[in-house]
Amino acid sequence: MAVLEVIGIKKTYTSRFGTNRVEALKSVSFRVESGEFVAIMGESGSGKTTLLNILAALDRPTGGTVVLDGLNLANIKESSIAQFRRDNLGFVFQDFNLLDTFTVEDNIYLPLVLSGTPYREMQDRLRPIAMRLGIPGVLKKYPYEISGGQKQRAAVARAMITDPKLILADEPTGALDSRSSDDLLRLFSEVNGLGQTILMVTHSVKAASVAKRVLFIKDGEVFHQLYRGENTNEQFYQRISDTLTMTATGGEVK
């Protein structure tokens, strides 16, 4: 069953006086099945972030439809979009986006508190997640008292605690050193192994190589995709890397 269905998404930015039109996304279509781990790759300016913003319902497309769990995003009222986002999507950002006014624990609770979940239930939900992510020791600390890797794990915990249909990750390893990156990516595979659907936007080959499928975007279009199949991470890494080289040198794929 498809968790996410993207059909012919278009996004055109117009400058203030309508003199300049930039097509960020021309026509993007793809499906994400339940339990998949999809990476979207592309260079800067290829429209990755625009796509993610549209999927997150933070921005509206100029054309095309996004269907999340059978629901057309265009049909959701502006007023209930935040609620929808809270209930169905989890976010992991490059710069963590933890609030420095809250302890780690309270940061993780934030989406649940907004939904009015009782404290007892929040505690019950947090315990297993914190154990899995290895952060029980830092729950009472403030974000600036912990390391980057711990911050990102806290952010993952925040994304997971609502038990979302889909986790959207925007360059999750972008601000991490290589060891923390490896840890995080392993974590993502594990979480995915438990059935969590993940969509990750990245330009890191290493990050993409842990996904089950990689979509390549260029000039506002999906121009290629790779399935992991039976490949190991290293083999998949090589294939992704080759594809990127070919794209860059202008060679034909396949």
């Binding site: 972030t49 979009i81 609620q83 006014t101 934030l110 508190v113 939904s115 009015g116 404290y119």
Partner: protein, 681 residues
């Protein structure tokens, strides 16, 4: 030159911060100029009581300068915080600390120049205007000439140059002591989560409590002056301590209440308040103190001004009032007084006055120390070298002996008394003794305590406690005291004849009569009439003096209140502005996590409401407890009408609260706009 350009650029790029800052500084300059201008104003010097007002204005000037200094420092700290980042960038790009200091110098010079010029310009424009208002409040005609007071211009320029120099030193110090990286990060550097400081919070509460206790238990108006200053200092210190650490304490407690804390609209506001309460607390305390000052000032000065008629009729019960002290107690016999009375009546009638509504009674006043057992020693001078002088002063009472005959006549009563008996009325303090025993005088048994006595004239301005004793026979009650002298050789008792009447004349002729009658009294042969000293006061005469004094106070109250309100509004504005910028990214994150605009608005409202109405609530509480104290102080100004003061205070509080709500609405919009501006991913 490059520095000047950079300075100008910096100011232009940070308009949103600099504009209100420059506005603040120019307003402060303008108000200080106006107060200073009035202090130098010839028009005011020339009017009656003008010198008193100008003396008060010197005080006002001092307060203004002090307050401007504090306040400009406070607002400047916001600027430094935001400018540090830019300085850090320049530093990394290769500018040394010296160059940065030069930019800071240029920037301060530019803002100072603009502020002081604009301020003095506005001040000059408005100074004549305020002078007209003042004279109008005081009820005098004025010349409409326009003038600039160069002495005031120089004063104000010097004061503000000094203040700006101080802010400059402060910014240079801050930039100089931090590294480039720290400068760059300074804006994002969150404050450490505050640990609740129980000791400080508790001490603050105790201070406030103690100040309240002083205010409520104060008995004599004379003590009130001293107590007022002590209580004010305690309340200021206590408020700062309580708001700074007490508010953190409360937030921490709220966070422990899981049920309360983990609600959508409390969660965000409580945590962000706890996080920056230390700074927030200082701002809140300032707002609270300013509000309290405004309320106390406005309510008391307007009560004085609008209660002036009432105070006048208390102090001067008749249009013409005379108090004549006789050489000895025999002077109070009617054989002596009747000729005097005829002279006054005859003279007044010749000038067209109808002598009516006469008040006419005799009394003997004496000062003495009252001991707990009822012993009274009228030889107070003997204690002047006592080691326990403070304790002696507290026992000092004024005694007024009034013959029963006069009391019954004036009060239209028909009381009877036996020899050695007295009816008593306490002024400023209740009577606890049941019997008074005057050394060298007589023993008086107090058979009745009077609920009221038509105290008039000088009795109303008594600062010490006093007791009126209505006795059967004056000479018998005063007894041996009559012949005794005090340590400087004066008589220990003052036999006084009080005589007053209404004239039925218009104010101008009353004024004239008072003057002429005084000349007549002064020309009388003292020994022939057994006069020791005499005083005469016309109500109309005094009304003019009252108006000038109270009008001046009222005016000063308005000017200072306006300034303080303005300062409070700016503090609020700055708070909202700086917190808005800080919260902008925070709410951006929350939106991504799934917070709706409605949620944000709700959380902002809950936060703003608490933060806004806490100081107002505190100010109202302070005002409530200051009430008895200020009331006592007001009696020094002849204002006995408590309910009138109560009404005025309530009205002031109401008006102030309305204005406060208005400011709240405007600034919360500003805050919301800033926060909403940051919605990009």
């Amino acid at each position: 030159m490059i520095y000047l350009k950079l300075a100008f650029d910096g100011i232009r790029k940070n308009k949103r911060l600099y504009l209100p800052y420059i506005l603040t500084c120019s307003m402060m300059t303008a108000v200080t100029y106006i107060v200073d201008y009035l202090h130098y104003s010839k028009t005011i010097t020339e009017m009656r009581g003008g010198s008193i007002i100008q003396e008060i204005l010197v005080l006002g000037n001092f307060v203004m300068a002090f307050f401007s200094c504090l306040f400009i420092f406070y607002t400047n700290s916001f600027l430094i915080r935001r400018r540090k980042k830019e300085f850090g960038l320049y530093n990394i790009l290769g500018m040394g600390k010296k160059n940065l200091a030069l930019i800071a110098v240029c920037e301060t010079a530019v803002t100072a120049a603009i502020s002081v010029f604009a301020g003095i310009f506005v001040g000059i424009l408005f100074s004549k205007f305020t002078e007209l208002i003042l004279l109008n409040i005081i009820d005098l005609g004025v010349s409409y000439s326009f003038s600039v007071s160069w002495s005031a211009v120089i004063d104000v320029s010097l004061i503000f140059a000094g203040i700006f120099l101080l802010t400059l030193i402060n910014s240079v110090r801050q930039v100089g002591t931090s590294s480039a990286i720290n400068l760059l990060k300074s804006e994002n550097l969150g404050e450490k989560p505050p640990r609740a400081n129980w000791l400080l919070g508790l001490a603050g509460l105790i201070l406030i409590g103690a100040a309240y206790y002083i205010a409520v238990t104060i008995v004599s108006p004379l003590d009130a002056i001293m107590a007022f200053f002590i209580a004010v200092l305690m309340v200021i210190a206590g408020t700062y301590m309580t708001m700074i650490s007490g508010s953190v304490m409360i937030c921490r407690l709220l966070q422990k209440l899981k049920r309360y804390y983990y609600r959508p609209n409390h969660f965000v506001s409580v945590s962000s308040m706890a996080f920056r309460m230390k700074r927030n607390g200082a701002g809140l305390a300032s707002i609270c103190i300013l509000s309290t000052m405004v309320l106390v000032m406005i309510s008391s000065t307007s009560t004085l001004y609008f209660g002036e008629e009432k105070a006048l009729s208390v102090r001067y019960p008749r249009e013409i009032n005379s108090e004549i002290i006789m050489q000895n107690i025999d002077g109070l016999d009617y054989e002596t007084l009747t000729p005097l009375k005829e002279i006054i009546d005859g003279f007044s009638k010749d000038m067209g006055a109808s002598v009516e509504n006469v008040v006419d009674y005799r009394m003997v006043s004496a000062a003495g120390l009252l001991f707990d057992d009822g012993t009274v020693d009228t030889d107070a001078g003997a204690y002047r070298t006592a080691s326990d002088f403070g304790g002696v002063v507290k026992r000092l009472y004024q005694f007024y002996f009034v013959p029963l005959e006069d009391y019954n006549r004036v009060c239209k009563k028909s009381e009877t008394l036996g020899g050695g008996e007295a009816m008593a009325f306490g002024i400023n303090r209740d009577i606890t003794q049941s019997e008074l025993s005057f050394i060298d005088g007589s023993d008086l048994k107090i058979v009745k305590t009077l609920d009221a006595f038509p105290i008039t004239g000088d009795m109303t301005v008594d600062l010490t406690p006093a007791i009126v004793l209505v006795v059967k026979d004056l000479k018998e009650a005063v007894g041996g005291l009559a012949g005794l002298a005090n340590y400087i050789g004066d008589s220990r008792i003052n036999p006084t004849w009080i005589y007053g009447f209404d004239t039925g004349l218009d104010p101008e002729r009353q004024f004239e009569l008072t003057g002429k009658l005084w000349e007549k009294l002064a020309s009388l042969d003292k020994d022939a009439y057994m006069i020791y000293s005499r005083s005469l006061s016309g109500r109309e005469d005094s009304r003019r003096e009252f108006l000038e004094l109270y009008g001046g106070l009222f005016f000063l109250g308005i000017i200072l209140s306006a300034t303080f309100i303005f300062a409070a509004v700016l503090i609020i504005y700055y708070k909202q502005l700086s917190e808005g910028y800080e919260d902008c990214s925070r709410f951006g994150i929350m939106k991504k996590v799934g917070m709706t605009d409605a949620d944000i608005r709700k959380s902002i409202n809950s936060q703003l409401l608490t933060v806004f109405f806490l100081p107002l609530g505190f100010a109202a509480m302070h005002l409530g407890f200051a009430f008895p104290l200020v009331k006592k102080l007001m009696t020094l100004f002849n204002l006995q009408d408590v309910s009138f003061y109560g009404v005025v205070t309530a009205v002031c509080l109401l008006v102030f609260a309305l204005m406060y709500v208005l400011v709240y609405r405007i600034t919360s919009h500003l805050y919301y706009d800033i926060v909403r501006g940051g919605k990009e991913l």
